[in-house]
Structure formats: C-alpha cells, structure tokens
Amino acid sequence: MRTRISTAYFFLAPALTAIFLFFFIPVIAAFLISFTDFDIYSLGNFSNARFIGLRNYLNLFQDPLFWQALKNTFYFVIVAGPLSIAVSLGAAMLLNSRLVKFKGIFRLTYFIPVVTTLVAVAIVWRFIYHPRFGILNYMLGFIGINPIDWLGNPDWAMPAIILMAVWKNFGYNMIIFIAGLQNIPEYLYEAAVVEGANAWQKFKNITIPMLAPTTLFVSIITMIGFFQLFAEPYVMTQGGPLNRTLSIVQYMYQEGFRWWNMGYSAAIAFILFFIIFLGTLIQFRVQKSSEI
C-alpha cells in the first residue's frame, strides 16, 4: 500500500507542481502586490515596492475611469449574456425539432464562429461595421435603415461589440442545450399533449424546469467568460469612443503593462475576481430559490 501512495504522488507531481508554481503562487503574489505601490521603479528592484494597505482599492473607488470600465463591462455582461443564452436556447430547440433534416450540418454551421480566432474575427467585424463600406450598413440600407457609425458613435459601440459577441459565442451554449434537451424524457411532452397543453405551456412547464441545471451551468460559464472581455474592444475600438467600451480587463492591462502600475493593476484584477465570485454565488442562490 505504501508503494501505491508514492506512485500516486509520482503521477500527480508534474501537474500539481506546475499548477502550484505557476497558478497558486501567482494568485497569492497578486493579492500581496495589490497592497503595495509596485510601479515602474519596483520593476528593476522589487524591494522598491512599499506596503500601502488598502490605498490601491480606495483610489480605485475614486477613479472615474475605473467606474467607467466597470459600468461598460456590466453593460456588456448583462445584455450580451442573457441575449446569447436566449439565442443559444432558440437555436438548440429548433435543431432538436423532429421536423429538421440535416441537423448535423446546421449544428456545424452555427458552431463555426466559436472555434475561430477571436482577434481575427474582431478584425473582420471591424470592417463589416465600417460606416461607409461595411456590408452591415449596406444590408440595413435595403430595409431603409440609415448608415450607422457602429464603432465611432459612443452609443452604438458597445451594442456593436455585443452583437459580435453573441454571434461568436451562441454556438457553444447551443451544443450544451442540445445535450440537455436530449436528456428530457419524451413521455413528459406526450403526457402534456394528452392534457391539452399548447407549445408555450410545454416550453414553460417542461422544457424550462427540466433544463434548469443546464441553464445554471451555461449562465455561469457565460458570465465568467464575458466578464473577461478584452480582445474585442482592444482590436475594434481601443476602448473608445470616449472610453465607452473600455473593459475591466483592458483597464487592468493598461495600468499594469502599459504604465507599469502593477500594484494598482493587481487590485483591479482582484476586484474582477471578487465580482465573478459574487456573480457565481448569486446565480447558485437564484437557482436554489426557484427550485422550491
């Protein structure tokens, strides 16, 4: 038995050592750095950093740019999250219908944006959104919509990023929803039909409750992913116009790696972590309370 134990550690050692050294230690270090004034002068000599308590966090709460980034990121998560989940569920239900032929091909088509490189796709969309030459405004022209300066107008830039994010991501959750739908026993729907239920009642009273665990999972991973918004604004708008698309991660990146205010940047990273943690907790609570 003793040899078993040591072989278990032999198998675990490489992965756990790597995760400990390059994940757990950095997390703890980031936490400590967030209480220091680590800046460009500390970069050459770490001992130049001084402990300053909560000052980074207190400064953040008075930093209008940070509030703007927070507001933008919440705008993105709160609109793009439910929207993309709704599109995913709709697509999954259509593809789960018995009427549909060639399900595999449709599933594959809707899924393709998920696997493609975000940076490349953001560049493509940047040109699609071009106010004069972009194909989106051209198409919208056919239904009488005047050209919109998607990425140049402060009020349209975030909706434009949201639209792209929904297009890019809905296929992923669609696949998970299809798996969830296939696990709902057919006899439930048959019984409902016997009882005279219509399509909406079946959806509300069978599909939604039976999908609840899937929906919880999907909501949590989508929320975690969307809070980390970075590449889209970095490539498409650089956070503009008027900082209206600046995201938390982008602000963290700028402070930490452009201005080398690493203490400040670490504090931003921890606030992001705290928000994601809280968001996950709330979703679990909501799920629990709706079960009763």
């Binding site: 278990a8 390059f22 270090a29 490189t117 999972f217 975690i224 980390q228």
Partner: protein, 270 residues
C-alpha cells in the same frame, strides 16, 4: 409541411448570416488594394489576386508568426496532455491522503480568472529571463485544472479489474498508465488535445503581455499589431485573418466529433 419548409428556410438564412463574415473575409482577401473599400461593397473580387498573401509572407514575414503559433500550440498540447493525463489518472484510480481535499481545491479555484495570475507570472518569468521566449507561453500552459478534471471523469469509468489484472501480471504502475490507461482514454485525450491546441492558438492577452518582439509574436498578436498600421487596408487584414483562422478551422472540421462530445460532457457533468 409548409411549417417544415419555413423552418428550413429560416435555418438556411440563419446559417448564411452566421457564415457571411467568413465568406466576405475570404473573398476580400483575394482583392487588390482598395477594392474592398468601395460603395456598394463587393462580395466577390472583380480581379482575383494573391497580392495580399504575397505582401504578408514576403514583406511582413508572417510565416515566422505562423511558425510561432504552430510550434507553441503543438508543444503546449503535447506536454499538458502528458501532465494532465497522469494527474487525472491518479485522481481517478489511486487512493491517497488528501485526495478529495486537493481535488476540491483545484475545482473551486477554476473560478479564479487567469488575469489575476498574469502580473506576478510576468515578474517571475522576467526575473529568470523568460519573457519574450517560447518558455513564457509554454510554462503557464504545462498543466491545467480543466484538463485534469476531464480526464479524471473519463478514467473513472475504466474498470478496476483491468488494472488489477495487469498488476498481477507484473506490470509496473507506469506500464499500466502507458499501455492500458492511455489507449482507453484516447477519445478524451483527442478531445482535450483539440481544446488545448485551439486555446493556445487563439489565446491573445497572455501572448500580448509575454511576447514583446515582432519575430516572437503569435498570429493573433501579430495581427492585432498589424491592425494598428493598416486600418485602411481591409484586403491585407482579411488575408491575415484567413491565415489565422484556417488552421483552427481545419483541425476543428477534421475532429469535430470529439470536440462537440467534449463540450457536451463538460456541460452535462457540470
């Protein structure tokens, strides 16, 4: 019947809208300079040309970035597959002190966003001179919790009797891992390999931080950098996007069965 036709028309139109950005991307990448900046927009090149690709490979040396991306994605995939599969196997089939505590700690730390680790990781790698080298990308990718979790879930279903039988035949623990566990886990290993390959290939923020030289950039970083100088050259940028997207698309289309199954597994189990 009418309903069925409408449904299919809707699905086909949605499919076309989903693919439209890619169709335009490929088409514009074969246009000459300025030909994609016209009104009304062109959906097909009026004159088919490879000049954008020539520009990228001959003058901008994108081949180097392509190689960086490919080398890093393959290396990270191979190493992490090895490390993750050993750990996943140990969590599934060995009993040892602290097993559940360690496993639960790993699982719950999956909620920590990677951005938290990036500042200290940068300082660590900088102090040992690894910033702007391949090591800067490989080291944080050596192992990952999601991969360990995925393999553990799969390895749990391997019957203990198989392992016991091999042990009675005198096979060493590593032999068992190599000749029984790995072959039986092949489907999940392929799934994880695709996830890791694509994750590394598509990754942006960390390579942007850790690689500081044009010649070390991966494709997404090189592309984002190029965008800064070529905002008025959609044709060139589309060719760059095609080069970046095509490899992941090919890997995905070739192995989509495994990829889709992996997502379904993580969803149902979660």
């Amino acid at each position: 019947m009418i309903k069925k036709i409408y449904l299919h028309i809707f699905l086909i139109v949605s499919g076309f809208i989903t693919l439209a950005p890619f169709i335009w991307m490929i088409s514009a990448s074969f246009m000459g300079d300025g030909h994609a900046s016209v009104y009304p927009p062109r959906f097909l090149p009026d004159v088919f040309t490879l000049e954008q690709y020539h520009h990228l490979f001959l003058r901008l040396n994108v081949a180097r970035n392509f190689f960086n991306s490919l080398f890093l994605a393959v290396t990270v995939t191979l190493i992490s597959l090895f490390f993750n599969s050993m750990a996943g196997y140990a969590f599934a089939k060995y009993r040892f002190r602290g097993k559940n505590q360690i496993f639960n700690l790993l699982l719950s730390s999956m909620i920590i966003p990677a951005q938290v680790t990036m500042l200290p990781l940068f300082l660590m790698l900088k102090s040992i001179g690894f910033i702007n080298t391949y090591f800067a990308i490989i080291i944080p990718g050596l192992a990952n919790i999601f991969g360990i979790f995925l393999i553990r879930q799969y390895a749990l279903s391997i019957p203990d009797s198989l392992i016991e039988a091999a042990r009675i035949d005198g096979a060493s623990d590593f032999m068992i891992y190599r000749t029984i566990i790995l072959p039986l886990c092949l489907p999940i290993l392929i799934t994880l390999a695709i996830f890791t390959f694509m994750g590394t290939w598509n990754d942006f923020l960390w390579p942007l931080i850790a690689l500081t030289d044009d010649s070390m950039y991966t494709l997404p970083v090189a592309l984002a950098n190029l965008m800064g100088e070529h905002t008025k050259d959609p044709e060139l940028m589309m060719a760059g996007s095609v080069i970046t997207i095509i490899p992941v698309l090919v890997v995905f289309l070739a192995l989509q069965k495994y990829y889709i199954k992996g997502i379904m597994m993580s969803g149902v189990k979660g």
